[in-house]
Amino acid sequence: MFGLIGHSTSFAEARANARNLGYDDYAEGDLDMWCAAPPQLLERVSVTSPTGTTIHGAYIDSVFVPEMLRRFKTAKRKVLKAMELAQKSGIDITALGGFTSIIFEDMNLLKEERVSAVQLDWQRFTTGNTHTAWVICQQVVHNAPRLGIDLASAKVAVVGASGDIGSAVCRWLQRQGVGELLLVARRPQPLIDLQASLGEGRILALDEALAEAQVVVWVASLPESLQIDLAALPRPCLMIDGGYPKNLNSKAEATDVHVLKGGIVEFWQDIGWQMMEVAEMAKPQRQMFACFAEAMLLDFEQRHTNFSWGRNNISLEAMDWIGDASRRHGFRALALEDQPAAAAALAPA
């Protein structure tokens, strides 16, 4: 059995969702009440791969909302309690979605394995980052040529390059062969280490990289205050918005700048669940975060282990393996033509 741990994207949305799901009393409650509320197992689903294998899973809402990010103890407890519920529900492999994995990593919750009476078994959880990284790479390779960008000579910027997903994307693109990798991140030292391990790549500030790159892979969310100098961007420009939350679209609207939602996959058939409507997917019956799909893939393959875990452990072999599984079980990476606005831009003038 696979599990997905998710959450609403805002408190207002969470209340609306609660009302839609029949949790009217929670919908009326204030943020303090929501802080104390326990996680909820909201939905059970069955999913069948083109191979004919059927797996069963559950969606757990951590009852976390981004408004709780500043309440460290609350955020931490929400993640651990949701994991505890997944484990107690007998789920073999659970993906940490949205802010859940960010909180887990940034707050170093590995130290906190003991929640109440339950000893958390890390083998049962995955960040899903290996699949996310693989999907983002597929999105680059598939969509850049459609915009007339020749990857073999193109400059590709990775924003958040030294992170778990970012460094994996860099290694994969290096093997694939791109014109030049432009490395961008907040902290200098991990970038220098990454550059040394790659043996290539140029470290740049964000605005410098944006002025040169035909492809920009964002695996970090943009600060609210950040403005992109649209006039300085090379044209055409492909931007893969692989961060969370996805807020690039509003910042990068311009002619010949193509923003693709990154790390999203589409399944080969409808799933019959409600939960991806909560995640604002364009086709909620088929589309989902690649990290969630990783839990399904591990369950399809009966590989019940923390496949993606810790920082910067994603190997090319692991990406190849999850990529093969992804294709075999009916997933494909979201493409520009799947997005109505972007598809229109692709059409010949």
């Binding site: 500043r70 460290f72 309690k81």
Partner: protein, 238 residues
């Protein structure tokens, strides 16, 4: 997924141990400890009383009751170890509303209400409070409390099992009893929040852990997530 503007850049707070020797700590401890002692004593009395309503279970209930007395002695030793005198009159007042409701239900032979009050609400609250307490307890009390927590799970299970077996016939009484008593738990928590904070026990943590235990027990009994959310709202909303 990493973020460029990590919202969690600041490090989370450490939960340092309180100064067990300070007067402020001992003062707060005198009330919290008294509540625990009184709670265990009442649990003993309540299980014996429930045995009068369920004669075929009286033996098992007497066994549970004896366990509670053992816990009470353990917690009494914790106070002695810190040189604190438990404020028992405070604790007796603290429990009065729940005790009165329990006694009224007992007099009417309402076993569902009695089980809800003792085996679900009080036990879930105790287990949560002990869990939150253990990491910030003095070494002596920590050891005692860890032993108690193991026992308490068997009590919660007892109430759960009986209610689960009788779910079809208990719904109405259970809902009413829950409406009458769950809000008392919140009031009681509010009453001790300041003292608990001195012991480095956070009110929100206590409430959240209580609700987790409560939800888990009710799920086990057979209520749905939506029903439980409705029940829980009685304690949370307003």
């Amino acid at each position: 997924m990493a973020t460029l503007a990590s919202p969690l850049a600041a490090s989370p707070e450490g939960s340092a141990l309180p100064n067990f020797e300070s007067e402020a700590y001992k003062d707060a401890y005198s009330r919290i400890n008294a509540i625990v002692i009184e709670g265990e004593q009442e649990a003993h009395d309540n299980y014996v009383a429930i045995g009068t309503l369920l004669p075929d279970q009286a033996e098992e209930l007497t066994r549970l009751a004896r366990m509670e007395l053992k816990h009470m002695k353990g917690f009494t030793a914790c106070a002695a170890n810190l040189g604190v005198t438990a404020d028992m009159p405070f604790a007796q007042d603290f429990f009065a509303p729940l005790r009165n409701n329990f006694q009224a239900a007992l007099a009417e032979g309402k076993v569902v209400t009695c089980l809800l009050i003792q085996a679900i609400l009080i036990e879930a609250f105790a287990i949560s409070a002990y869990h939150i307490y253990i990491p910030v307890a003095d070494p002596f009390a920590r050891k005692i409390t860890e032993g108690v927590v193991k026992d308490e799970y068997t009590h919660l299970n007892y109430g759960q099992e009986w209610l689960k077996a009788n779910l079809d016939s208990i719904r109405e009484e259970f809902e009413q009893a829950n409406r009458d008593n769950l809000p008392l738990v919140r009031t009681m928590l509010d009453q001790v929040a300041a003292d608990a904070a001195v012991l480095h026990m956070d009110k929100e943590d206590l409430m959240a852990d209580f609700l987790s235990s409560y939800q888990e027990a009710l799920l086990e009994i057979g209520f749905t997530g939506r029903e439980i959310a409705r029940f829980a709202a009685a304690a949370l909303v307003g």
